[in-house]
């Protein structure tokens, strides 16, 4: 395991273009003795789309789960929208309201209808009135292309539809950043496109996004920067073009040769 980093590729690509929405500085994370993240430094600028790739167990999911405190990092600092993550539950909840998250296994609430899934957080957290919340929920469902499913239960929908509901549910809190944790990995192949299309549209609309995925086509098409992780470290960061045509690190080359 190497800790040295290539200073060149690092310096030009790690810095966000605009103002940083997310800043990770020297972040370490342990699960018992196992170091899941080591010395992570990363900035995400406003409206930037970052795609994180890497072999399984490389810490990609842990990285984005630390950003909204589903996992607690052990060292370093994480700043989201100008707020530093701390132990304070109020502070954590504020950051969570600014960051939407989409899970690999959707995690919709099976006992609630689609529209209730979407309006739950706006009504509970922001105390929106029912009509108001349902109106915005319907707009979001239009946007992800399934307004006719509003009164159904998640169990009645296909995987692709469920994941689109999950995206709409996150968007309902009007987050500044969206985190995607392998959003298409649990989907049947024919449903991947409908979810990616929604994500592409979201990116084009100017949403700041961090996407953990194995969809290289998506990375090529939408990413501003691609982050390659292995063994809990950021190995290489670069533009998609640079990354896919001219990777510098051995581990990156190896990984790309295995999946492409």
């Amino acid at each position: 395991m190497t800790t040295e980093q290539n200073p060149q590729s690092y310096s030009d690509a790690t810095q966000a273009k605009g103002e940083a929405v997310i800043e990770l500085t020297d972040v370490d994370k342990f699960f018992g003795d196992f170091q899941a993240l080591s010395d992570i430094n990363m900035n995400v600028g406003s409206q930037e789309v970052i795609v994180v790739i890497g072999p399984s167990g490389s810490g990609k999911s842990t990285l984005i789960r630390c950003i909204n405190r589903l996992e607690k990092h052990d060292r370093g600092s994480i700043v989201v929208g100008g707020i530093e993550l701390s132990e304070d539950i109020k502070n954590i909840q504020e950051i969570r309201r600014e960051t939407g998250m989409v899970f690999q296994s959707f995690n919709l609430f099976p006992h609630l209808t689609v529209i209730d899934n979407i309006t739950l957080a706006p009504r509970q957290v922001r105390h929106e009135a029912k009509d108001e919340a349902e109106e915005s929920a319907m707009q979001l469902l239009e946007r992800v292309g399934i307004p006719e499913q509003a009164r159904k239960y998640p169990g009645q929908l296909s995987g692709g539809q469920q994941q689109r509901v999950a995206i709409a549910r996150s968007l309902a809190m009007k987050p500044k950043v969206m985190l995607f944790d392998e959003p298409t990995s649990a989907l049947d192949p024919e449903m991947i496109k409908e979810v990616l299309d929604v994500m592409i549209e979201l990116a084009e609309g100017g949403m700041t996004m961090i996407v953990v995925t194995h969809e290289m086509g998506f990375a090529r098409a939408v990413a501003d920067r691609v982050v390659f992780m292995a063994d809990g470290e950021i190995v290489e960061v670069g533009t998609p073009e640079h990354f896919f045509t001219n990777p510098e690190e051995e581990r990156t080359k190896l990984f790309l040769s295995q999946i492409l």
């Binding site: 969570r96 995690n107 169990g155």
Partner: protein, 466 residues
Amino acid sequence: MTSSAPVLPGQTRAEWVRRNLFPNWWSGLTTIVLAPIILYFAYRALRFLFVTGQWDAVQVNLTLFMQGTFPRDEQWRLITQILIFAFAFGVGLGTNSAASYDRAVDAGLDVEKGSIVETLTRMWSLVAFIALLLFFATTDDIGNFINPFLVVGGALVLAFIGYQAHRFPRSLRNLGWLLTMTFLVIGFQVVSGFDTGGWVPLGIIYGITAYSIAPVDRFDAPWLRVVLRLVAAAVVVFALRAIYAAVDSPGIGWDEWSGLHLTLMVSAIAIVLAFPLGLLLALARRSTLPALRIMATVYIEVIRGVPLITLLFMGQFILGFVVPAGTVLSAITRAIAVMTLFSAAYIAEIVRGGLQSLDKGQNEAGQALGLAPPPIMRRIILPQALTAVIPAMVGQFISLFKDSSLLSIIAILEFLGVRKIIHAQPDFRSVAFAETLIFVAIGYWAFAFAMSRESQRLERRLRVTR
């Protein structure tokens, strides 16, 4: 496992007998040996039921079985209670069936709309038991000044009227539930009395209602909303207290209840009290606060390790040391307290199982949306966890119902205990023990079986969307 083999189309009776009773030589031999034995026992059983059985022990004591030592000249209270409960049952059923109908239509699912008849079919064990009561009642002339047929007929009519609540528009569903609960409490208090302290149950129901429907949306400050909600709840509660204080009409307290009425009431009260207590214990056991967690764990494990009958005896002797000096607790109050505390420990474990069965993604999804822990628990975790444990929970309620028969051992005259009075009568001093026992057994079974059927239906309905 045995199951009756259906007669296949085109199969003659003879073929059926051959295929199911004599398919090969050893099965044929078994049939030849067992058939006479079974027929003999069936003959003895039927002979006992219809010829030798002294069912007059049940027949002449029917009122005693139903209400035991409850004051006879206050019987009108029990009759009124039955009628009000029937109405509340109807309203609840109507509201429930309309609500599930709405949900099914919205989600484009197969529509399942209930009815009184459908419900009675499902609860056929209860219908059969009531039919048995009516059969015996035709010749019972002791202490009955009201025709039981009129009571049952009236209850059916009232249930049917109440069921019309399913015609309410959707916006009135919650009103339907509120009416159901109100009539359940009033039905209870027709017997127990509308005395000064009786405001508590309706106070809780209407206080919570006022708190949740108070029109405070136009105020932006969260603290102001909470204050206004609390004020609304307080106003309602004080109004109810004033009404009860003004009416102040005492009834017959549970110390004087007895028979099947006491059995049903003790079970219902213990279930209603044990459920929230068990829920709190389950949450406490999963709490991150060590003190709370340890206390809940110790409580649950101690209670679950001691037999109920021991606790009931302890309740009679020890509870007196715990409560403030001078407090007089009747045997029935102590028994209800012990049954509640006992069941709560079991319910806590059942709920904990439900909480553990949930995928942790549910909690994470709630957290990721910025929800605080209490709404995550209330809106996301508990509804799913409780649905998952309905069968186990109803199983616990059925145990509680049957275990209430242990009260007869601590000299409380509930359904089973009433037999002591009956067999103290000169006519039945040393006869008809089996007859009264069988009757009591049928009674317990009828209710327990109905509960079990209801739990199966509830489980199916709540899972329909999974």
